[in-house]
Symmetry: C2
């Protein structure tokens, strides 16, 4: 470790910033460790080389457009294809003017935070929620309304109670951030009645909803309509990515929302990346035109479904009875509750050393610093056999840990 940046140069917003533990883990793990840590997609889901080459040829026939600067909102032809894709996949009718192309969905989160948040602004998030969203929100030092969850995601009644108090105290909410379909890290899918209730609250109290939907296409069962579909685009700012249905290495995502939000998002984006790469936009536009993304989605679901089932079966077979978890209907994750009193962060280092299995401690996903007894297991990258072996080892490890801890631990049972 060499010298660090002198504190006097560092901005306040950077002083508390720690490296994302998921990324640290990814970079330090030994070859022989089974990793349930990262959430990277299985390369088998990436585009077929022949299709890709054909799409590159298409981009090259638009040589100047592909290589020149593009407009900040994205190429009109690509935004048109995204609108058509959303209509096919989620029955929501939007105009291309409602859509902004982004460099992955992380950029959309960054821009939304920049657009809405000041010190002490109110934002509502689930406990737990996506760690990298908290990181970009934290830069602006907002205050959080933390909403408890169960195996179906956000407890909207609890949110309502907290809102009633906030508004009667003269405060107001800027937005609710939620991952309703294939939650990260929870793996939950929010039921229809809760979705309707949430939209009703947004109307009643006048706030926006940021619907983060990276996993909404990776489903293992029927799921209710997206929030943006139910809403029609008045209150909901929808963000998603081509990382899980095309390839993360192309860094393309998009945001869809009300016109007045989109116009401001474009302004804010001029200071970050100017525009997403037009060449990349043309390639994915060609995939959308040919419906290759649509047809690939079925194949992708099949690939992950086998892995999900392998993990579900292994969890039931090998996890001690005092451990509970959420079986996901969408996405990449099994969220797991150790008995209260155990600390998943502390145990991680032992798990890597003693049984050579890695996971992500849940703590970082909790805006209020709770969740110390939780962890996230990702099944997206390892093979079904490796999944079974890893869960077996982890089950034995936790059994030993619980035995050692004796009577001091208490099972956390989640509401179904």
């Amino acid at each position: 470790m060499s010298r660090d940046l002198n504190e006097k140069f560092l901005s306040e917003q950077m002083q508390g910033m720690r490296s994302n533990i998921i990324r640290e883990l990814l970079s330090f793990l030994q070859q022989d460790v089974i990793s349930f840590a990262g959430g990277a997609p299985d390369p088998k889901t990436f585009p077929r080389v022949e299709n890709f080459q054909e799409a590159v040829e298409y981009a090259l026939t638009n040589y100047e457009k592909a290589f020149q600067y593009g407009t900040t909102e994205g190429l009109p032809s690509f935004r048109k294809q995204i609108a058509a894709f959303m209509l096919r996949m989620m029955s929501v009718k939007l105009s291309p003017e409602n859509i902004v192309v982004s460099v992955g969905s992380q950029e959309s989160l960054d821009v939304i935070a920049r657009l809405f948040l000041d010190r002490n602004s109110w934002v509502a998030v689930e406990l737990p929620t996506y760690i990298a969203a908290l990181q970009v929100f934290n830069i602006w030092k907002p205050r959080y309304i933390t909403v408890p969850t169960d195996k179906k995601g956000m407890d909207v009644h609890a949110l309502e109670k907290k809102l009633r108090r906030l508004y009667s105290d003269g405060g107001y909410l800027k937005f609710v951030y939620t991952i309703p379909t294939g939650h990260n890290p929870l793996g939950s899918v929010m039921p229809l009645d809760r979705r309707k209730h949430l939209l009703e609250l947004a109307d009643r109290y006048d706030f926006y909803i940021v619907e983060d939907d990276p996993y909404g296409f990776i489903t293992y069962d029927r799921v209710p309509p997206r929030l943006i579909t139910l809403d029609g685009g008045d209150r909901v700012i929808y963000i998603s990515t081509f990382s899980k249905i095309f390839a993360p290495g192309f860094r393309l995502g998009w945001l869809a929302g009300p016109e007045e939000v989109v116009r401001r998002v474009v302004l804010a984006k001029q200071g970050t990346t100017l525009c997403a790469p037009p060449f990349n936009q043309l390639v994915v536009e060609y995939f959308l035109r040919n419906r290759w993304i649509d047809s690939n989605i079925d194949r992708i679901r099949e690939i992950y479904s086998v892995k999900r089932d392998a993990m579900a079966e292994a969890m039931r077979e090998y996890m001690p009875s005092s451990i509970d978890w959420v079986e996901p209907d969408a996405g990449f994750f099994f969220f797991t509750y150790l008995p209260r009193g155990l600390d998943a962060m502390e145990l991680l280092y032992r798990a890597i050393e003693e049984v050579k299995v890695a996971y992500v401690p849940g703590e970082g996903f909790y805006a209020d610093g709770s969740g110390k007894n939780t962890l996230r297991l990702s099944f997206s990258l390892p093979t079904p056999d490796t999944i079974r072996e890893g869960v077996k080892r982890l089950g034995m490890f936790f059994e030993k840990v619980i035995r050692e801890a004796g009577v001091e631990v208490e099972k956390e049972v989640m509401r179904e």
Copy 2:
């Protein structure tokens, strides 16, 4: 114009944000207007299709690497090639660990601002300086030390005087932001003695220098070594882009700097784009490996040199004697001084209407709101014939304007 976002939702940092006038102009100009406004590269400088196809094949033989998430700092193989390129082009020996790949150089500016700036931090900038840098700095509400310029760029003696006062008042500078080679908008190249003086000040007062170098490869005469070359990498944070020497539509740039800065830049970048597209990185890596970028640079200089000469000749022929300008030794721009008392912003609308020529008013490039009588002419995109025609029309227009204004205007003569 439909409804705007309710003020109560808008963050403080967004409330003052106006659309970049350059971009607005680009999107609203009619076909028959000669535009000296945008700074987009000439498509003739873009990569050859055969070379590009070969590079895509190379990327595809690294299929998983190309399509999977990459590390935030960029692919090690690409960073190695960038370090080798910098060694060849500017005789500076850096390790790949000093380099971070970015989504265009705009992302580097954004990340640097986020890393260093708080409300009331001190930053030094030239009068004028790059408008989009001011935009991202302004988000954090810093205070500016504004440094006057002449035809050779920053007046470093003036900076020294202002620093003496700042430090004796107990303040301190976070960094100087400068574009020493092919200034935007000034077109100037900072001479060697000023470069050395600036580095000396950085050492004496202990601050960083951000050397923005998008045009440092597009030179029409010999230029002094880069600041990072003179410094060796202790004080200088160097940022550049492949937009002008490869293609803007690929959105790749890089930052090179001291290890302690690079480590923090990587942390800050995790919240913005996670990583630049690995596919794109592999393609440009292949161009660098084969020295295709190096060999293209000579061709690019030739293309722009003809245009620069056309504009220089036309300016001398057609501009009224009470107008002064900087003839650039690097970059894309002729910075032009109207007589004091004239307002280039007001005149722009008349110029577009009366003679169908567009330019960028200089005002936005001045952190202190001065520079109302200045404008920036870009020669990168139009042909030499169009350049001559446009300058001719503009010269006639200004002649008329000056005649109308009578004795009230006074020529602004810049120091050589």
